[in-house]
């Protein structure tokens, strides 16, 4: 085989690989990128049980309850338009509290409760999950604002 032909073949292989990667990525993103949901998205679009998603919103005041076993908590997540019940078993981050923002990773069970396997709250005053930027909660009126 001539060097020139070989170079052409290699270039085509590289091109095919890059295009393949792109197509693969795009097809996967179609499935996975709708990965972040606000409660209102859950209500309007629906999420099948068992699908791993991130649910983001504010923890409703007065909704946080701890089960008798001491490790499971129940709380409601809202974006001002809809509210979703959620449970979490584990050590909640320090800045996870009522009236503040949370991003929960997990999936819905068959009864419409979101079972979180991981909670991402603010690490400190400077760090906020990116998905929650533009959301705010009014302490007195219990009103949620979401610019989305």
């Amino acid at each position: 085989m001539k060097a020139k032909h070989q170079r052409l073949i290699l270039a085509l292989a590289a091109l095919a690989a890059i295009i393949g990667a792109g197509l693969l990525a795009v097809s996967a993103l179609k499935d996975e990128a709708a990965y972040f949901y606000a409660p209102n998205d859950v209500k309007t679009k629906g999420v099948e049980p068992g699908k791993a998603i991130r649910l983001g919103g504010m923890v409703v005041k007065g909704s946080l309850k701890r089960a008798a076993n001491g490790v499971t908590i129940r709380f409601d997540v809202t974006d001002g338009k809809a509210t979703v019940p959620a449970t979490f078993s584990g050590i909640a981050p320090d800045l996870f509290k009522e009236g503040s923002g949370v991003v929960a990773e997990g999936a819905f069970d068959g009864k419409g409760t979101f079972v979180a396997t991981n909670l991402l709250a603010k690490h400190d005053e400077r760090y906020m999950p990116r998905e929650l930027e533009g959301m705010s909660y009014n302490e007195t009126t219990h009103e949620m604002k979401a610019e989305r």
């Binding site: 290699l10 990128a33 709708a34 076993n69 490790v71 990116r130």
Partner: protein, 642 residues
Amino acid sequence: MIAEAGLAALWLAAALALLQLFLAFAGLKGGKSELLAAVRPAAVAQGVLTAIAFGLLITLFIRSDMSVLLVVTNSHSMKPWLYKFAGTWGNHEGSMLLWVTVMGVAGAAVALFERALRRDTHMATLGGQAAISLGFYAFLLFSSNPFARIDPPPPDGQGLNPLLQDPGLAFHPPTLYLGYVGLSVAFSFAIGALLTRQVDAAFARAMRPWVLAAWILLTLGITAGSYWAYYELGWGGWWFWDPVENASLMPWLAATALLHSVTVLATRDALRAWTVMLAVIAFSMSMVGTFLVRSGILTSVHAFAVDPERGSFILALLAIYIGGALALFGWRIGSVREGAPFELVSRETLLVVNNLLLSVILGIVLIGTLYPLMTEAFGHKVSVGAPYFDRIAGPIALTLMIALATGPLVRWRRDRAAAVGKRLMVPFAVAILATVSVAILAWGRIGILPFCGLVIAFAVGAASIAPLWKRNLLRTPLFTWGMVIAHLGCAVSLAGMACNSAFTVEKLVAARPGDTIQTAGWSLRFVQIKPIAGDNWTALQADVQVDRGGAPVLIHPQSRFFASPPTTTSEAALLTRWNGQLYVVLGEEVEGGRWQLRIWWKPFVTLIWLGGILIALGGALALVGRERRGWLMKWRARRAFA
């Protein structure tokens, strides 16, 4: 005075970079030897000046000089010495100064130690290094001055993010940056070779040690970062597919591909254009990563300050350098002749497969990382996380491991398929044995990806040591040992990942002092909870006595409170055994005087980082082996001449 001296050193270094750029290109263009003679001294002086500036900033931090703005916003006089020192780069300006310093010192090293490169290419490379440095000097001096003063000085500083107050801060960022920014040398080499039209085997042999050195440090930096995140964040995970982690993974993927293709170019004079392209891409990925981390479009512990102006500045640098390099590539690549051809069954082919698969993974990670930013520009917020990366990159990475097992057993240039098959018999037998035993031992408990991972890890482990088979181990060249150990490291790391995701046992309890918890063969007795105080924190500490049939050991998970800035962090307690780690996190107090304890038993999780260290060690052996061979040959030649 110290701050002003540091700033002056930076300005001088920037001026020298400009001079270096001018001298190199004016000298090359006009063929003026006297101009070129000053290029190397300029590069060395520039390296020294950046190191001085960086040393001065460290001094300011150690002295807690509160008249310097950066020290005020990121340090505190009560902080332990180590974190005053390492806190120098635990912020935006300091880390950018570290970036510029690594670039300057790397340029000085190329000026001092590079002997194999043709002189004109060497000069053009130093010119290229000066050109990229200039942009980052401008960024530092015009938008991120680390030496700015504050008047009047406040009584004390605001402190450092407690998550960063860990010995890991002293090691992870500098190592990572040395690798990350060290790739700028490969970029400059590519620019130099394109300008002087010297893309050949000799050029590749000259570039290889620099790529290897950067890659070793990058590997160590990523490994250290992964372990740090694992024990500091208290989530028990070792990789989160966080955009910032991806920012370090992407240059590593490109550098790994480059490392292999530069070997093809050095040994067989093939893959010329592709190698140059990869050298450009590797450092471009470092710059893309910096843009992601430093522009404030991401929020994480790594993104220190949110400032859109800085983001646009880095984006402009990105466009200029990547665009410029690609334009130069497009312009000059026509004049790079085809390299030597090779047969289909040859090591070259396997290395091409390696390069293509690494590029595919790189593309997938890049798209997954940028996609949320692109959709956000159009008003949609999405996140792309582990499900995407695991599903797509996982299987391709496993395929890559199969190529990794095969490649070293195939001869350069031409081989017979039957002979290769014969050499693969033992790894193949190991794979079958592993399939059967894993299936018997863990059927139903293990997912498909970890299952394949474990089987492939065993097969790759066997295949990676196969090149040593029937060889005199003492006479085997050091760089062959390096390859064997690095590949073995991949297998070890993969085994750790597979074991961790398949066999981890997790238990979450609310326990009273005095309670005993049984999990995964361990017995944990919650002895007591007590307050303790550290240098700049107070903590609640649990004493937990653990044993699994042997002598009991006391471990201490803590929940720490830092006063400045006010933050609580949880310090996991880790107990390492040969076959895994026990990982205990203390949570909050719940009603009934109970405390939450989260316990993981992670079989063989330590193999993940041990593998990373082996990979870097393999790289180091290869580097020393090649360099030593060069010295020996030179020495023999000189003696024969005498």
